[in-house]
Every structure is written in structure tokens, then in C-alpha cells.
Symmetry: C2
Subunit: 212 residues, 2 copies
Amino acid sequence: MMELEHVLPADIEKTSFRIIEKELHEMGREIPEDKKHVILRVIHTTADFEYLDTMAFSEEVLQKASDAIRRGAHIVTDTTMAMSGINKRKLASFGGQVHCYIADPDVAGQAKTAGTTRSAAAVDKAIREAEEAGVPLVFAVGNAPTALIALEEKIHQGYRPELVIAVPVGFVNVVPAKERIMATGVPYICNRGRKGGSNVAAAICNAILYNM
Amino acid sequence: MMELEHVLPADIEKTSFRIIEKELHEMGREIPEDKKHVILRVIHTTADFEYLDTMAFSEEVLQKASDAIRRGAHIVTDTTMAMSGINKRKLASFGGQVHCYIADPDVAGQAKTAGTTRSAAAVDKAIREAEEAGVPLVFAVGNAPTALIALEEKIHQGYRPELVIAVPVGFVNVVPAKERIMATGVPYICNRGRKGGSNVAAAICNAILYNM
């Protein structure tokens, strides 16, 4: 029978982070200091060291992300899974909220009419509602490349999100959708390639929140 | 600018599954036919082909899982993320519900008193409530090895879940917790090693539900 390690519940996360850093060090790899809190948490969430090589950050994005949260930015996710993984109490302490419009009946109707996905229609609704309320937005996309593509179109029309967390996972249009968002010039945290997920999107949001 | 493929929204999942099978075939690998719906969906959810090598299934577990759902089994998850990823409408069509007790105030209190994790205390509550209601349970554990360890203890005391989906992710006690659940003799779907996650747990539940 495999033995269990005795680690206090409160120390599990800290111990995990230490193991990840130690193993990376043994591979001759170091995580860039300024991005450590994000990359460590993503590896912790996925047990996948590949993220160290594929995560991409725009210039000064972590500073910009913290500033946006401090100014009361809301976070929009493309799935209820990502929404449920984000620490909403921590975000609320800065005045922010998390929204996910994917299950809204008007979003489903709009997608059907426009022949697009609900994820794309949800991006339209998020931007409309935030502009009416005068709220800055962080997008956290862990599932739907079509959400990123809809967002890219809005950005070309002049819309400016505070940050796009571009980590959808999958095999159809995921790679180009990420590349296209990175080419728009908006602040981004991206994971190049096919990997990502709602869990990764939530982990990145929490890493930002816990580092403030 | 990277070009997008034109795939109808309704066809994205089918196309993804086809790409995964094609690439595995090119690597000289095939997915066992009887487990294909589960393994394909997990690779689709993670974009990680490693799952083909690490997923482990107890004897006839998929038949047993379907039977349990048909008899109205409820699903207990260890995170709200996993809960929100499961198709609750589909489960309800067989009479089942999804529960997650992690955020219950009495669970937090019990964990504190017992010096254990909330995940472990939540397993106790799940079993208590299900026994009172006479409901069979499927456990879907995507995060907390301590939930598996608590479950193992209950199994040694005589408790029999219908199925344990044992896919926590992480670096502390995740590997031994999975091995110990597999050694109990209860029906399991497991992912050996460190990888897994709430997304993986939800994907496995949905694969079972969509295949009925």
C-alpha cells in the first residue's frame, strides 16, 4: 500500500509549489520571478510542466491586470466552470464581480439568429452590459475559441478590454484564435497551442487576485 | 494572420473527436473501443494525449456506471467547478442530481473540529445524506486526494459507492490516494499519476451520461 505524506491541510498548496519549483530546478529550469505566481498556480492546477514553455504574457500585463482589478474591473468567463473556480469573495473585496452569460436565454436566441455560437453571442452581451454600467472588463476564456474570435472582431471595431486571458483548450480553431488575440495589441495572458481550460482560466484569475 | 477553419458550431465536438482519433492513429495508437467515449472526451477536455496511457478502469466499470445512473444514482463532486461542468439536465432525466458539500458551513465546522480537510468532511456528509435518502452514489473527485482518502476509510468500514471517479490533480498525496482507491475493490475510473482535475472529472461523468 502506498504511504501517504503527512502534510497539514493548510500547507498542501505551499508544499505543492515547493515541489514544482524543486523539480523545475532539477530540470535546469527557473520560472521568471515576476510571473512565478501565475505559472506556479497553473502548473499546480494541471500537474503539467509544459505550461512553463507555452504561456505567453504581453508587456507589463500583470501590473495592468492588478491595476484593472483595483479599479473595480469585472471578470467575464465563457463557462460556468471557470466562473465557479474564481475566488469571488476576493474579487468582491476590490469591487468586482464575475459574470458568465453563456446560459442566458437571450444569448441562445441571439446565437441561433446570427448562426454563431452562444460563446460569441455572450461576448457581445458582456460588452454591451459593461459599457452601459461603465465597468472595465477582464475576459477569462478557457473553453471557446469562438469567444476569442468574437472578441477580436470587437477589438478591431475599437473595443478595449483591460485584459484577455486566452486559454481555450481544443482542436478546432483554438491555436489561431489565440494567435489572433495576441496580435491585436490588447493586454493578454495566453497559453500557446491546444492546451488550456476553464480550470486554467480560473487559476490565472486567482493567481492575480492572491498576489494583490 | 492565422486562418480559421470553417466548422459549424454544432460540428466542433465531432470534428475534434475525429482529429484526436486521426492523430492517435498516426502515432500507431488506438483507443479501446469500449472505453473510447470516455478517453476521447478526456483528451478533448485537456488536449493531452497522455491520458490514453494513464487512465485505468476496473472490470466492467462502464456497464456498472450506466446501470447505477439508470437506477437513479446521484453524483457527488469535491468541487463546485466539477459540479458546474456536469450535464445536470441529462442526469436528471434518469432521476439523478449532483451534490457538492464543500462550501457547507457544517462541513467547514466538522473539518476544523476533526483537524481534517473540508473535502474529507464533505465525503462523510455525502454518505450520511445518501444513506438517509436511500440513494446510490457516484463520487467524482477531481481535486482533493483527501476526499479519496476519506472515502477509502469508509470503504474499509463497509461502505460501497457505485463508482469512484478518482482523478484529483496535484503533487501531495495524489498518486498514493489514487492507488489506494484502486486497491479497495470498488468500481473505479482513475487517472494514474499526478494529472486530472475538476474538468476531467466532469468530462468523465458527461461521457457516461452521453453514452446511455
